[in-house]
Amino acid sequence: MMSLEEQVRGRKLKLHDMCLRDGMHSMRHQITLEQMVDIASGLDDAGVPLIQVTHGDGLGGSSLNYGRGLHTDREYISAVTKVVKNATISVLHVPGIGTLDELRMAADCGAGCVHVAAHCTEADVTEQHIGLGRELGLDTVGFLMMAHMTTPEHLIEQALLMEGYGATTIYCVDSAGYMLPDDVTVRIGGLRAALQDATEIGFHAHHNLGMGVANSLAAVAAGADRIDGSAAGLGAGAGNTPLELMAAVSERMGIETGVDLFKIMDVAEDRVLPIMPQPPRADRDSITLGFAGVYSTFLYQAKEAEQKYGLSARDLLIELARKKMIGGQEDMIEDTALSMAKERGLI
């Protein structure tokens, strides 16, 4: 059997930074325009080819349910597209949250790539949005979230639907940071075998069980062309795959990313770390996300409910996993907390 290094050496890999989108969750959507411009220009200068900029929950995500953004998506995207020289700015777009008009706006502001996201079993809600992405000339990606919640076979069926709608890249997204390397290998390998040769495959990790880099390497070995990560790991839960770590490991293993290792390390250290209230860490609640398979952004409102009602955030997250809540159902955190607090006589 080939070693991992033999499988990946010489491969070309696109790294996609998420700290200005997934990191918006940890920053409660309050990143300033100045911070965003500063970090994006650093990433661009370090040779990161794709940088995602949107509210944490995608276009139109600014809401009472997910938290209001300090600025609008239009303001963020416009500010960043003005300063980057080489990188493509991407956006997250979740049908049911964002509308087609918002996707048109993002393209008008200079976004060049869109991740059209759906829960891993619901790809057929993305037809209109993938279609519009292609029509607008965007690098159009189908982004299958919470991919641990379905079988590899079913995930492949869903990926084929998105490819059929026109997506030219398909992602397996480990939104809960639940997967272990074998889970990644079977899914990415299955996608590679089933999708057209020209279709690229991507993997998006959360570091809740500390597996971000290991899982991303397994994805590359199984055929992934794109890996999402975040400078300094800034992302929901215990964060995303730290991009500077992935770049360093890639360099050691002979994976060609085109990213300047020292520069990306400096962006993480000098530009991203200083803006964080606290660096992402696999604390007991984040480990619970990964262990039980809960959407990573639930962390923040679960912690708030712990403060408000005196419930344990861990108990609450376990209950949300039991109820099979999926991405976007933040409203059910408060609802479940209220029900649990009533049952326990706390309110």
Binding site: G60, E122, L338
Partner: protein
């Protein structure tokens, strides 16, 4: 007693569930089911229940409208074909109840504005969306107490309960609901979020309503208005329940609902279908009663020049 004869266009989940409700009505009689696929289960099912059927779309119904005395039609197809369906039937004097998100006619959420639609000579009434039917009554309850600057609703439906029409047109679904949250609910601005959850066994429809009031919320009056509105909706959707709230956090009012269906055609988790078809049936019944009482005479709509 005479009943007003009806046609249902779209023999899918919504059309079939609606059929069961119309069969129980004291003022409506379903006589035609219209589809586009000859082999469709829904058409076969309607036939077994004694309806005439056609697989040739609205064009297959048009020649029979007058002789069969069809006066009300329900469109449970999709936003894209609704306008054409409505035009063809309005020309024959058939009142259209629109269950798609096309929203070309006035929006109707029965406990809020059904009575206002009487006497307006409208020939097309839109039922918004299931998410709208489930949440707008709560927005209206809060805005009946004080000014609502912003209302946001999150509707979660079981994957098994939504059909291809809604999935393919999710953008219309989201936008029509957002617009109606403001317009019918009475909020200055509205937003809708729709989530499709595939859990097995399927989850009941859940709806969350957030309202931001212009001033400090009057907790007592809002709680009373919410409870009163829950009772009003329960009259036609018995499984409409307040699970938690209203809770108050600054100017934010949070209301957590669950909608259990009657289980007419689909299982009880599909409260989203139930509230849509029950609202449509209730709306049609009001118009039917007016026709029977001689207060409303439907007139053919001439093609606009």
């Amino acid at each position: 007693m005479d009943k007003i004869k009806c046609a249902i266009i779209g023999p899918g989940n919504i059309g079939t569930d609606l059929l069961y409700k119309l069969l129980r009505s004291e003022v409506l009689e379903p006589v035609w089911m219209v589809g586009i696929e000859p082999g469709s289960e829904g058409l076969a099912h309607a036939k077994e229940l004694g309806l005439k059927t056609t697989a040739e779309g609205v064009d297959g119904l048009v020649p029979h409208v007058i002789e069969d005395g069809v006066q009300i039609a329900f469109d449970a197809t999709s936003a894209y074909v609704h306008e054409e369906n409505s035009r063809k039937l309005n020309e024959l004097g058939v009142l259209m109840i629109d269950l798609t998100p096309a929203a070309i006619g006035p929006l109707c959420v029965p406990p809020i504005n059904l009575k206002d639609l009487a006497g307006r000579n409208t020939m097309n009434v839109n039922m918004v969306t299931c998410a709208g039917q489930a949440t707008i009554p709560m927005v209206a309850a809060v805005s009946s107490v004080q000014k609502v600057d912003y209302a946001e609703i999150i509707a979660t439906v079981a994957s098994k309960s939504i059909g291809m029409g809604t999935r393919k047109n999710i953008d219309e679904f989201t936008r029509t609901t957002s617009a109606a949250v403001a317009k019918v609910g009475g909020a200055a601005k509205g937003k809708a979020i729709v989530i499709v959850n595939p859990a097995e066994p399927p989850l009941m429809m859940r709806d969350t309503v957030f309202c931001e009031t212009a001033d400090e919320p009057d907790k007592e009056a809002i709680t009373a208005a919410v409870n009163k509105m829950i009772a009003a909706v329960q009259q036609y959707v018995p499984g409409y329940q307040l699970k938690n709230g209203p809770t108050f956090d600054g100017r934010k009012v949070s209301i957590f609902l669950e909608v259990e269906g009657l289980g007419d055609f689909l299982p009880k988790y599909a409260g989203n279908l139930d509230i849509m078809t029950a609202s449509a049936a209730r709306t049609a019944e009001m118009f039917a009663q007016e026709i029977l009482d001689g207060q409303l005479k439907l007139e053919p709509v001439k093609e606009n020049a």
